[in-house]
Amino acid sequence: MTARPKFRATEYVKPSDLDEYAEWLESEFDVELAGLPEQHERVASALKSQFERSDFWKAFCSELSELGSAYYLRTGGFFFGAASDPIVTVKDWGPFWLKTYRRNVLENTRWPRPPSGGWLLPQDWYREITDVIRTKVVVRYLDGISDVVRLIAEGARKARHGSHVAYQASEEGYYAAHIDVRRRFEIPRADFDTDRVSAAVEIQVTTQVKDVIAELLHRYYAVRRASAPTDDMWQWDYLSDGFRSRYLGHMAHYLEGVIMDLRGRVTP
């Protein structure tokens, strides 16, 4: 029996689904899928618990409450659009694995060469994927987003963590601020030792209206994420889900801007 030849990316057919992607990773980089989901759960759990115990997170939750109180006392209105403190969640293995597939294959316009920044391989996963741990702050009005962003940036500076802010505005109709707060974590290795890695926690800041729409559209986007990007003219396909969902996002953002303008005119 002859050994299966090693493929090189230059000759390998582009994987068309996650099974083929797993095969390609093993052939090309000796990455075995077995054990990776369990290892991911261990790492994600370690990241989450260390972040939740951090001084930065405790101070941030307290500052958020203060921000809400001060706003209420000043205006009689509510700053936040959600009843509870933000909850830290972890990206499960399925979406995480899909994300590496999207980065290496689906969105890699340079295939068979590596995407810009190089192949995304297990040794770099937790440094490069910035939303393994994430949380969301929901404010009531559009202008509350920048207040929370400032709070996060200031908190990160005090804690000597890195931070990067991106105000998202996509063609998909998605609008939100994403702040990556980067710090050192100790994560378990497969051999039961630990590594110290630089990893980011993603804090999304959005409005109540945008959050409702995002939840409604979550299933639609989940299906799209598993497919290769297309250049269809969705703007003219008015009977499609893409037409409705994207314009819903854009219109909601526009209306929230108009509400801010109105509020500014009626509030002395």
């Binding site: 307290s62 409450s65 203060e66 809400g68 109180s69 001060a70 209420y72 006392l73 000043r74 205006t75 009689g76 209105g77 509510f78 936040f80 659009g81 959600a82 009843a83 509870s84």
Partner: protein, 153 residues
């Protein structure tokens, strides 16, 4: 502000901004009355949308019931109404609440109908229900007209 009121405020887990505001309202009352307040209750409720909402500071002396809204968007307002023997109708509504054994899910509200058809509405959630009931028994029950002693209004 007496020690009992301070201990009560400690129990509410207020933010710094909220604590400062409540203490400032209490101080204003005490300066206006030139005396310490007897009892204070913070009326609040739990909103599904935004969580715990603090509405008003209710304050009591032997003779008066007073209310000051917590939010200051329309400026400060300090209300004073006679209390002695003035309670005509007292309505208590409770959910998941047993006196002295409030839990996180407990809710308690009171409507206090006073002379001249004035009505005071006080609400509490969680442990604050016990405090509302204690203040209600001490200040409202004692001034239900048929039960109350002292000079009639």
């Amino acid at each position: 502000m007496n020690a009992r009121v301070a201990t009560y405020l400690d129990s509410l887990g207020l933010t710094e901004a909220m604590r400062f505001r409540i203490e400032s309202l209490i101080t204003n009352y005490e300066e206006l009355l030139d005396d310490e307040l007897g009892d204070v209750i913070l009326s609040e409720y739990i909103s599904d949308d935004v969580g715990r909402v603090f509405e008003s500071v209710w304050a009591f002396t032997d003779d008066l019931i007073m209310e000051a809204p917590v939010a200051s968007d329309e400026g400060d307002q300090f209300d004073f109404v006679p209390l002695r023997r003035s309670v005509r109708h007292w309505v208590i509504k409770a959910k998941d609440y047993r006196r002295g054994a409030a839990e996180d899910t407990s809710r308690l509200s009171m409507e206090v109908w006073l002379a001249d058809e004035r009505v005071a509405r006080l609400r509490a959630s969680g442990r604050n229900c016990d405090h509302l009931m204690t203040v209600g028994r001490a200040r409202i029950l004692q001034n239900l007209a048929p039960l109350a002693s002292g000079d009639a209004d």
